[in-house]
């Protein structure tokens, strides 16, 4: 339980990755690292497909990344209409860690540019929901 709080609409409640939400609650965006082989995962996961270990630790994502690409939606799927227009994005941090999310609405369309430096911040949504977004670094 807990994961159903993630994002504007969540489609999953039960997952062993639910500590992700506990970290968000503390203002931390976290991935997982395999304790046995050292592989880092984002999106986080409790199982390592490289060495088949399920021995992972949560590890904070720090620093800033660069915008890989983005798109601003004018139409949305059910449940997201109230947020329109919004911009989804992929951001690459150090060590090729890529994180998917939305750009903050504080970033004006004319300022959006592939390669721009971004960082993330936790955002609390209405109805006790929680997510993260990308802001200018």
């Amino acid at each position: 339980m807990g994961f159903e709080k993630f994002g504007v609409v969540s489609f999953t409640s039960q997952t062993k990755a639910a500590p992700f939400i506990d970290h968000l609650e503390k203002g931390v965006l976290a991935g997982t690292r395999c304790k046995d082989c050292g592989t880092f995962f984002f999106p986080p996961r409790p199982d390592c497909f490289k060495c088949l270990s399920s021995n992972v630790v949560w590890s904070e994502i720090v620093g800033k990344g660069k915008l890989v690409s983005y798109s601003t939606l004018i139409y949305a799927p059910t449940g997201f209409e109230g947020d329109l227009p919004y911009t989804i994005a992929l951001v690459e941090y150090d060590k090729k860690i890529k994180i998917f999310g939305r750009l903050s609405k504080e970033i004006k369309p004319e300022d959006m540019k592939i390669g721009m430096e971004l960082t993330h911040k936790v955002v609390r949504l209405p109805n006790d929901r929680i997510t993260y977004e990308f802001v200018k670094a």
């Binding site: 609409v9 489609f11 999106p43 601003t72 004018i74 139409y75 799927p77 449940g79 989804i88 890529k98």
Partner: protein
């Protein structure tokens, strides 16, 4: 390698709002393929039914369709890789025939997208991506392909106009395909000034939803050479996957699953991209066709725009692509799409493509993608 052949093909018209049930829709394509091959139901050893189940009210449609088509008591089963389901079905049929398990296998792809309400459709759209890590941000197919388009623009200098030219080409051929859902011409100006769906993609950059069905009949060499039509041989059948999350992708300027499937198919067929005379590619969005030119090796990475600017992918060009209107104009009834693409190439290789006919092709290629580059399928066909 001429051991397994396509001996019959059929396709319904692709329409908005088919006025009938999925079994009747399937029957229309089945009938055309069976008449094409000159086969009777009891000669079909097994059937493979392909669709995207989120649009089907009927649970486990394979059983229902096998009964309606008169294929009992032969085995049937269901294959799903969303938009590439029927190409996946063809690859399985190839393996079943090549192994000697069956002499003749039928692949039927269908989708009645209008089976569910547009509200239900909007709801399902939100679940097309990874539901844990991406869907909660409000993702949709056009927006994912839009991210690929923007990455391609940035890295290679491709322009919105280049994508527009692809749409104009699709409409040129949709207008001469009586089975296309969209048979009107489109001007570059119309493409460029249409409403934005997900920037930078606009309305005409996106394919048309449709209802439709396709049917392919696959046979062993022994059977293929004694049927009504000249066999079209399956020379290569590549298939691959890539992460469904964007986080798992190396880059957004092409589709890794398509490159991998293409390499497999070229190797299996013993040909190079330059040997392909006519191709069908998965143009669910204009940028998808641009990436396909490059992923298939018709152009070097970043140089796909030169092909469309010089009209080399038109019927008279160096490598004609989607001269049946493609998904953009012919329409994209998900489970039926791959089978329709394959049918187009079979007709081309037989010289039966009518007004769409390319001059005397010997080798044809089909590129059919499921999801945003999650499932890649590349099939190569050849004639005697």
């Amino acid at each position: 390698m001429k051991e397994v052949a396509l001996v019959g093909v059929g396709q319904t018209a692709f329409v908005r709002g088919y006025e009938g049930s999925i079994r009747e829709l399937a029957f229309d394509a089945y009938k055309e393929a069976m008449l094409d091959a000159g086969l009777k139901a009891d000669e079909i050893g097994a059937s493979i039914i392909c669709s995207a189940p989120e649009y089907d009210k009927q649970r486990t449609p394979a059983g229902t369709l096998a009964e309606y088509l008169g294929l009992n008591p032969k085995p049937t089963f269901y294959i799903e890789t969303v938009c590439s389901s029927s190409s996946s079905g063809l690859r399985v049929a190839y393996a079943m025939v090549k192994s000697g398990l069956h002499d003749i296998v039928l692949v039927l792809g269908f989708q009645k997208m209008s089976e569910i309400s547009s509200a239900d459709s909007q709801e399902r759209m939100g679940r097309g991506s990874d539901i844990m890590w991406e869907a909660p941000f409000g993702t949709m197919m056009p927006a994912y392909y839009a991210m690929h388009a923007r990455a391609h623009f940035q890295r290679y200098g491709t322009k919105e106009e280049d994508l527009g030219l692809i749409r104009v080409k699709a409409a040129t051929y949709g207008a001469i395909n009586k089975k296309a859902v969209y048979q009107k011409g489109v001007t570059l100006d119309q493409v460029l000034t249409a409403d934005v769906i997900a920037s930078p993609l606009k309305r005409f950059d996106c394919c048309a939803n449709a209802d439709g069905a396709s049917c392919l009949i696959v046979a062993s060499k022994d059977r293929a050479t004694s049927l009504r039509k000249k066999p079209v041989w399956i020379l290569g059948a590549g298939a691959a996957t890539a992460p469904s999350t964007m986080s798992g992708r190396e880059s957004l300027t092409g589709l890794a699953c398509a490159r991998e499937a293409a390499q497999q198919a070229y190797k299996m067929a013993g040909i190079t991209p330059q040997d392909v005379d006519v191709a069908e590619v998965h143009d669910c969005f204009t940028i998808a066709e641009m990436m396909a030119y490059e992923d298939l090796g018709f152009a070097k990475p970043g140089e796909g725009k030169a092909l469309i600017r010089a009209k080399e992918t038109y019927k008279e060009g160096k490598i004609p692509v989607n001269v049946d209107g493609g998904l953009l104009s012919k329409g994209h009834p998900i489970g039926a799409t791959g089978g329709s693409q394959i049918r187009t190439i079979v007709l081309q290789l037989r010289g039966e493509a009518g007004e769409m006919q390319v001059k005397d092709p010997e080798i044809g290629l089909i590129h059919n993608i499921g999801g945003v580059g999650v499932y890649g399928n590349v099939t190569i066909l050849g004639r005697d």
